[in-house]
Structures are given as C-alpha cells and as structure tokens.
C-alpha cells in the first residue's frame, strides 16, 4: 500500500504544483494561409511585399509565434497526460471507479488526503485540469505578414483603449442626437431613462479581468471619467447596452439564501425552528409559532429569564421592530455563555426565523437594521505581559 501511495503522490504532484502561475508568452491560433500568388516581373522588386512576392516569406513575428505555440501545445499535452494518470491513481486510492471519477470527486479526494488549514482557498493544494491551472493565452495578435489585427495594437493595451474610443464615439453620437432634438424643439423621451442605482462601475480588477489586460490606476480613473461623462448625457439610454457592459449589479446576496417555508404543528400553527443560534459562547435554538399571542419562553421561563433590562431589550428588539410582538410565540432553548451572549443569540434566532413571516420590504428593513447579520466576534485572548487582551500595566516613568 505504501508503495502505491508514494507512486500515486508522485504522479499527483505535477498537477498540484501547477497551481503556481507562470507566464507563458502566447498560444495557439488558427490562421488562414492566403491563396498562393503567381510571380510577375512587376512584383520582383517589391521585396517587402510578403503577400505578393513569389517566394512568400512568413514574417519573423509569425515564425516566432508559431514556434512558441508549438512548444506550448506540447507542454499542455504532457500536462494533460500527467493529470489523467494522476486522476486514475487518485480514484484507486479512494477505492472508486477511475472511469467515473469526476472533477468533484477529485476535489473531495484532495481535500481528504491533503487537509489544509490555510485560510485562503487559493493557497490550498489543488488538482485541476491543466487548462484551468495555466492562464489562458492570447491568440496571435497579428497575421502572417506581421500586421497586427487591432488598430490600437501599438498602444500596448488595445482592448482598454478601444473601450475609451468607443465611449468617445458614443458621446459624440449622443451630442449630435441632442443637437438634432433641440433643433426640432422636441423634449427627451421621459420613458427612456437609464437606471443606474442598482449597479456600479466594474472595479479595476474586474475590468482588467474582462479585458485580459492590466491597467494602471490613472487609466482606470480615466475610464471612470469617460463613462460618467457618457452617462451624464440625457440620451444615455440610447447606448444602454454599451454602458451596461461595464456595470455590475450591486450584490443581491442578502436574500440569496432561500427563506424556508414554515411547517405546521398538530394545532395547525405555522412554525419555524432555527438551530445553531450562536453568539459569543452561547448556542441555542429558537422556534417561532404563528399565529401566536406574544408569549416568550426561554429555557422554560418567560422574559424574566434575563435579570437585566438590556438583554430583555435585545430579545424583544426584532419582534418590536417587525411589529410581530403580539402575533407570534417564541420558544427557545439556550445554553452556554452569559446573559448578553444568550440574548444576542436569541435575537438573531428570532430575526432569522421571522424571515418566513414578514413582507419583503420589512425583510429589507431588517437587513438594513443589521438584524439578519451574524455577530462573529469572539472573546479576544489575554496576552502575556499585560493584564488583559489590550490592557497594559499602568505606565510609570520612575
């Protein structure tokens, strides 16, 4: 078994190590060879005319590119082979069928065999198909004669500057359109307006990713200035498609988690139980019953379970906030921690359960009020050499 293990791990390693990103110059690209030309006396002295001269020359740029592409192809082929072998060994190790071993299984196996406590998932060991591990290559940016495809190629950042160029083009078109409307003494179309509230401009990183080009801070600022200017036109809705390509909707992840449907008990009342209500060292579960009369039971007692006012307020807050204090019953079991931790855990549990019983706009309000946010703070450890986590001994000069 140990023999197999070492062999497997050895085969596993190449693909695992592959996660180190490396820069490879360029990639495969299909190019068409033009029709072959016949010779002519006129053309003989046109030496630099690759596409015409009798003995067609491929430009130096293309030659170098083809060489690189070939090298890269071979490299990828090798990586593929190693990956497939590694995958089979992994499947054998896990005692599964190598034929039906999917990428999901691979990930699971790697997580099992190489447990890692590293916080950033990107730094954990991985085994993925080589095309995912090695960055995508740009296709050849020039033709056989060495002529670049993009008219802004020599700027070094053609896609980025093309965006600016297109934006300027749109601004000019809109200005022209506005002039025309004014000349006709018409008014802007009230229906056609751009709704930009729910979205923001792509961040620098996102823009870089979408353009496959690195841009500088000042260039990103320029991008934003140009786009803002485009948007400021009253007729900006005419180039909505262009604008929306560079905007990203604000995260709607708050309700991405599905709100559970309540179950019904034998009395026909709807109820929701939230398990694992955590805060500090307290943990518990909260059950909400609807309709109810505002009864609260905490570990069998009522709200007087808490002796102080503040934890009581904490518990009541989500009910009062949502106006449900008289229409639901709350039942919770809580243990561990102190009063404030328990109260916080119950508060979150009640708010979390109430999601199933309130309207959408109330949900929105609860989100804004921070009721649906878990409080992950824990006690900070005491440090040696000082009396508390942060507290220092009294400083005396002499």
């Amino acid at each position: 078994m140990s023999l197999v293990m070492s062999f497997t791990v050895k085969n596993l390693l190449p693909a695992t190590i592959c996660s180190i990103r490396s820069n490879f110059p360029s990639s495969i690209h299909k190019y068409s060879t033009g029709p072959s030309k016949t010779s002519s006396n006129v053309l003989d002295h046109l030496t630099d005319w690759e596409t015409l001269s009798k003995n067609r020359k491929t430009s130096k740029a293309m030659k170098a590119y083809l060489e690189r592409a070939k090298e890269h192809d071979e490299f990828m082929k090798r990586q593929h082979l190693e990956f497939n072998i590694g995958k089979r060994h992994l499947a054998n190790m896990m005692g599964e069928d190598p034929e039906t071993f999917t990428q999901k299984d691979v990930d699971r196996a790697i997580e099992y065999l190489f447990p890692s406590g590293i916080y950033d998932p990107a730094a954990r060991p991985l085994m993925k198909p080589p095309e995912e591990v090695f960055p995508a290559r740009k296709a050849a940016e020039f033709d056989e004669a060495g002529r670049p495809h993009h008219f802004l190629f020599y700027t070094g950042k053609p896609s980025f500057f093309k965006v600016l160029y297109d934006a300027a083009e749109h601004i000019q078109a809109l200005n022209k359109f506005e002039d025309k409307v004014i000349r006709k003494k018409a008014t802007p179309d009230p229906n056609g307006s751009l709704k930009l509230e729910g979205s923001v401009w792509l961040t620098k990183e996102q823009l870089e990713q979408s353009l496959v080009e690195s841009i500088k801070e000042i260039e990103y600022e320029n991008f934003k200035v140009v786009m803002e200017r485009l948007v400021s036109s009253p007729y900006a809705y005419l180039c909505k498609d262009f604008i929306e390509k560079y905007r990203k909707p604000l995260a709607m992840q708050r309700f991405a988690l599905e709100i559970p449907k309540p179950s019904y008990d034998e009395e026909g009342r709807a109820f929701i139980t939230t398990y694992e209500c955590l805060r500090k060292k307290a943990r518990g579960e909260v059950t909400i019953r609807y309709p109810g009369s505002g009864k609260i039971s905490i570990n069998g007692k009522d709200i007087t379970y808490f002796e102080d006012i503040q934890p009581r307020e904490q518990v009541m807050f989500p009910l009062i906030f949502s106006g449900m204090q008289n229409s639901v019953d709350v039942e919770c079991h809580i243990e561990g921690g102190g009063p404030s931790g328990q109260a916080g855990a119950i508060r979150w549990g009640i708010a979390w359960s109430l999601r199933s019983f309130v309207e959408k706009d109330m949900l929105e309000k609860m989100q804004v009020a921070g009721l649906l946010t878990r409080d992950h703070r824990r006690r900070e450890r005491k440090k040696p050499g000082q009396p508390g986590a942060r507290k220092k001994p009294t400083w005396k000069k002499r």
Binding site: T38, V42, Y65, F151, Y165, E169
Partner: protein, 256 residues
C-alpha cells in the same frame, strides 16, 4: 509675348518678398492642382514602376492651397516660441503671430502624401500619432477607417526600441509613422519621433513653428493644434492611403 512678362513680374515679386523676409531659398509656385498626368497603365500595356512615376497616386489633386488656407493651416505660434529650424517655412508674422508660407507647406504635404500612398501600396504598416486630447479621437478614427494603426496615448518608453519585451513577442514595427503633432506638450518632443529615427522608421510630421523638424523624414510645416486643420490632414492622409491600397488591390487582382 505676354507670358514671359508676367513671369518676370512674378520673379520680381518673389525677390521683393525674399528681401523682405531675409530668407534665402527658392520659392515654389504651385497652388492650383496641376493637370492630371495620365496613369500610363491605361494607354500603355507595360506596367509602369510606381517608384519612377512622379505622382503615381495623383495625390496632387487632393487639395489646393485655398483648402489649406480655409483650414487655418497657415497659423503658427507666437514669435517668441519660434524654432530656428522652422524659419525657412515662414511667410512672415502678423500681430505677433507667425504665418506659414502655404506654397511651401503644399509642396511638403504633397511629398508626404505621395510617400504615405507608396507605403500603403506596398503593404506597409502606418501608425498615426497625436498627443492633443482635443484631436486624438479624430486621429484614431482616421486610422481605423483606413485600416491602419494609431497611438494617441501616453507613450511608454521602449515600445519601438524594446518592442520584443514590451509586447512579449517578436513584433513587426510600423513602416511609417505619421505625427499629427510632434510635441508631447509645449515643451517636449514626442519620444516616438526620436525612437522612430533610432529604429530607421520613416516619419511624416506636421511641424508647427515651435517644433523641431530635424528628426522628421517628411516635415510638413503647418498648424498642428486647430481641429479644422487636423481634420484636413486626417482626410488627406486617409485618402492618400486608401488610394495606395486601391492600387494595391488592383495589382493583386491583375496578378492573380
């Protein structure tokens, strides 16, 4: 009998002008478009070598001096900013502003247009340059429309001189650089002018009265700031390049 008399008057007039300006050069006297020289491909079967033809692409009829005047090409900068090397191209000064001699400009511009057309004819890469934000979009559009290249942005050092590193691969550089202004700002010359000279890339440049024409292969004295003037240059260069390309297509079809 009359013609010589007029001619002498003209010479006398020129002499006066030269005295007035203290300039010692020969004046060129072409304003109106010359009668077209027939492309010999039409009447003679033998294909002519375009390089031996004085104006194979008929760039001569693209513009007149009147067009240049209307586009305000004759306005230079103020007297104080004059670059000494621009002295031969001046007509004089009016209210402290220098005025270009459009006859000379026309001559230079035609040479430049002819050269650009030839480069396009031979499949060369042409790159337009301009660092004036007001005009840069126009220049980029021109480049796009005639299927050539433009660089109107911040010039990263080494794009020409260290191209293989900058582009991460062996790269073919332009065969002709057209500068619609040769200055980065009022003080510095565009680095690409120097770099083109280093890399033996021929250049065409619109040089204003405050620019140095020394490193430009085909300097064209004229106003390089006014949008109207830039528009005219763009139009002319585009037309010349398109003519070169049209000829090229014709030849390609003949050969195949």
């Amino acid at each position: 009998m009359r013609v010589p008399a007029i001619y002498f008057y003209y010479l006398y007039f020129l002499a006066c002008l030269q005295l007035r300006l203290g300039l010692s050069y020969l004046r060129h006297y072409s304003t109106a478009p010359k009668p077209l020289q027939e492309n010999s491909t039409e009447d003679v079967k033998l294909p002519v070598n375009p390089l031996e033809h004085p104006d194979y692409f008929q760039v001569h009829n693209l513009f007149t001096v009147k067009d240049l005047f209307d586009a305000r090409v004759h306005y230079g900068h103020k007297e104080g900013s004059l670059n000494d090397y621009m002295r031969p191209y001046l007509y004089g000064s009016r209210l402290g502003h220098l005025i270009f001699d459009l006859d000379i400009t026309a001559e230079h511009l035609r040479k430049a247009l002819n050269f650009a057309a030839h480069i396009a004819y031979r499949g060369g890469i042409i790159c337009f340059f301009n660092r004036n934000a007001m005009n840069s979009h126009k220049v980029e559009r021109t480049a796009k429309e005639c299927g050539e290249y433009a660089h109107t942005r911040f010039w990263r050092g080494g794009i020409f001189t260290n191209a293989n590193y900058q582009f991460g691969a062996v790269t073919r550089l332009p065969d002709l650089c057209i500068f619609l202004n040769t200055q980065n700002n009022i003080l510095n010359q565009h680095t690409a002018v120097r770099d083109s000279a280093k890399m033996l890339i021929p250049t065409i440049g619109i040089v204003d009265s405050n620019c140095n024409p020394n490193l430009i292969t085909y300097p064209v004295p004229g106003n390089d700031d006014t949008p109207v003037a830039i528009e005219l240059y763009c139009k002319l260069f585009k037309e010349a390049i398109l003519r070169g390309k049209a000829e090229r297509m014709k030849l390609l079809q003949e050969v195949n």
